[in-house]
């Protein structure tokens, strides 16, 4: 069972900033998006138990290499990095085209995608890739298990979970409930050094450079500003009885109770 894990390298949480052109500054240190690492961990566990290999696929700037190297150290067999200067500023449509084109050059039984990215995208690309490739789409997985001829997941619901099944190949979008990502072992780090990170340009995957990047983007950021300051909190330090009366007064004044 071969699994391709879609992984996005995002700015380290807390260090994100916009560049002068209103695009996310990706010259800062990048790390694997948190939700993507949960699906990578699950992919590794599944291939360790049932055979097959994990390939990481990312589209991003040269600085995404660290995140890929870590994924290889965790146990992925192969990393594919679509990197091209023309991609800078690409919107979700362009990203979709690139991922679809790259996936067309890979073999897989399952594609994994993470829910939401920490740098502000919508958690929609997995679904879009599935629709475009005509694959079954199974989302919000808290458990993934292979069947003799397909895949079964537990999809988080408001009441508990739904059990979903589909034939393979399929695309599964996963959540943190799939389990904590492992730390790369020293052995894994050593082995990763000899694993290739393949870099693919737009020409390699036959995507027209004019259809991606900032000029082709279907949306643009008009302006950005700091949000109004919160805080300046009223502080209560009183014995519990007094504090509670003050809390109730505060809530009453704001018509919240």
């Amino acid at each position: 069972m071969n699994i391709v894990v879609l992984l996005k390298a995002v700015p380290v949480v807390g260090t994100e900033r916009l560049g002068g052109d209103q695009l996310t500054d990706r010259a800062t240190q990048l790390e694997a998006n948190g939700n993507d690492e949960y699906t990578l961990e699950k992919a590794l566990k599944l291939t360790e138990a049932h055979g097959g290999d994990v390939t990481i696929l990312t589209m991003g700037p040269a600085s995404a290499t660290d995140a890929l190297r870590k994924g290889l150290a965790m146990g992925a067999a192969r990393a594919v990095h679509v990197v091209d200067d023309a991609l800078r500023g690409s919107d979700m449509r362009a990203t979709l085209e690139v991922l679809v084109a790259a996936l067309g050059r890979l073999e897989y039984d399952l594609i994994f995608a993470g829910a939401d990215t920490s740098d502000g995208q919508g958690g929609v690309l997995g679904a879009a890739v599935a629709a475009r490739l005509g694959l079954p789409y199974l989302s919000y997985a808290q458990e993934i298990e292979p069947l003799p001829d397909g895949v079964r997941i537990h999809r988080i619901s408001t009441a508990g979970y739904d059990v979903l099944e589909a034939p393979m190949p399929a695309l599964v979008m996963g959540t943190q409930l799939l389990g904590e990502p492992r730390y790369p072992s020293l052995r894994g780090i050593m082995q990763a050094r000899s694993k290739p990170i393949e870099t693919w340009s737009l020409a390699d995957i036959s995507v027209d450079a004019a259809s991606v990047g900032m000029d082709a983007a279907t949306s643009r950021v008009l302006d950005s500003q700091k949000p109004p300051e919160r805080g300046g909190a009223t502080v209560i330090r009183e014995p519990a009885e007094v504090a509670v009366a003050q809390i109730v007064d505060f809530l009453s004044q704001r018509r919240l109770v």
């Binding site: 879009a128 408001t158 979903l164 943190q176 983007a217 643009r220 109770v257």
Partner: protein
């Protein structure tokens, strides 16, 4: 004339609160743009739910589609794609719920519509301008489409649902020529005991963090939420500890919520949690550490022992609600 479609969701036979918010937003945008608004409900019970939706939006299109054995988005997305192809609406407003994001993502693959995610507010100025809170709330950005069409994912609580002056009409229709998606079957629906009220739609959320200590401590959080008529939320540490389900997790890898009131109990206010709740109307924090980061974005900071405060506060709220205060 621009057409704005609010894409609704049905739960327990009624439109969700988010649906009513989207219907209100579509109506407001259509008024500002001199366009027309429509609310689209697709699924089992669409016709029955349409009446309530029509109180908020001027024009409801209800499409009955039975798909109990399929995930919601798998039923809605291809039908919506057919309707979009037939009527070419300029703008779709889709709720940023789990099903809404799935629907939007599938549509992104099925149609050529551009999209903007994470909308926290939409205004009309020669086109929709979408406000988003990004980078853990460090920035508020405003974005627009370069063309004159697109889909916008709108977060819960971005607009207040308001009934229209006059209720709108309801049209029921079938969608022909649907190209179904690759099939996923729902083979079972498991209800887990003690499933908590969903936080996306809650006006009041009481959140618990590591400071509640253990599952018994978290029960105090639940009791206060019950007294306030709200839902419980939690930080990731609490979810990881198994005191409450992942569906209640607020923050970076959980949900982003915008309740009128958020009561944070034993929550330090780390960035990963802050991003999920910082746009709440009022934030009350109860924490023994006066220097916890949450003091920087709370409106009321109560320094003290939550094991002493929470039971008394719960009781005081109950007394007040029963008319005794």
């Amino acid at each position: 004339m621009a057409a704005f479609w609010a894409i609704g969701e049905i739960a327990d036979g009624a439109p969700t609160r988010l649906t009513l918010e989207l219907a209100t937003l579509a109506r407001q945008l259509a008024e500002a743009a001199g366009g027309e608004a429509r609310t689209v409900l697709i699924g089992t019970g669409a016709a029955a739910a349409a009446g309530e939706a029509a109180r908020y939006g001027p024009n409801v299109l209800a499409v009955e589609a039975t798909g109990d054995a399929a995930p919601v988005a798998q039923v809605v997305a291809p039908r919506l794609a057919s309707l979009v192809e037939r009527d070419s609406p300029e703008y779709l407003l889709i709720g940023a719920s789990a099903d809404g994001k799935d629907i939007c993502g599938l549509l992104l693959g099925l149609t050529d519509m551009p999209m903007l995610a994470n909308g926290a507010g939409v205004e009309w100025a020669d086109g929709p301008q979408v406000e988003m809170s990004t980078f853990g709330g460090k920035l508020v950005t405003k974005s627009a489409f370069t063309g004159s069409r697109g889909m916008i994912l709108v977060r819960p609580g971005s607009v207040t649902a308001e009934e229209a002056a006059q209720p709108g009409g309801v049209e029921t229709a079938a969608v022909d020529g649907v190209t179904e998606l690759a099939a996923v079957r729902v083979v079972d629906r498991i209800e887990e005991a003690g499933a908590a009220a969903p936080i996306e739609e809650a006006r009041i959320i009481v959140g618990g963090g590591r400071g509640v200590g253990n599952a018994e401590g978290f029960a105090l959080v639940q009791e206060l939420a019950d007294a306030l008529g709200g839902a419980v939320g939690a930080t990731r540490a609490v979810v990881d500890a198994g005191w409450i389900g992942y569906g209640q997790q607020i923050g970076q890898t959980g949900k982003i919520v915008k309740p009128s009131l958020y009561v944070a109990c034993g929550i330090s206010g780390a960035i990963q949690h802050k991003v999920g709740v910082q746009t709440a109307g009022t934030i009350v924090a109860i924490n023994k550490d006066p220097d916890a980061p949450i003091a920087e974005f709370a409106d009321l900071m109560v320094v003290g022992d939550l094991f002493e405060i929470l039971p008394r506060l719960t009781e005081a709220i109950r007394v007040k609600k029963s008319g005794g205060g």
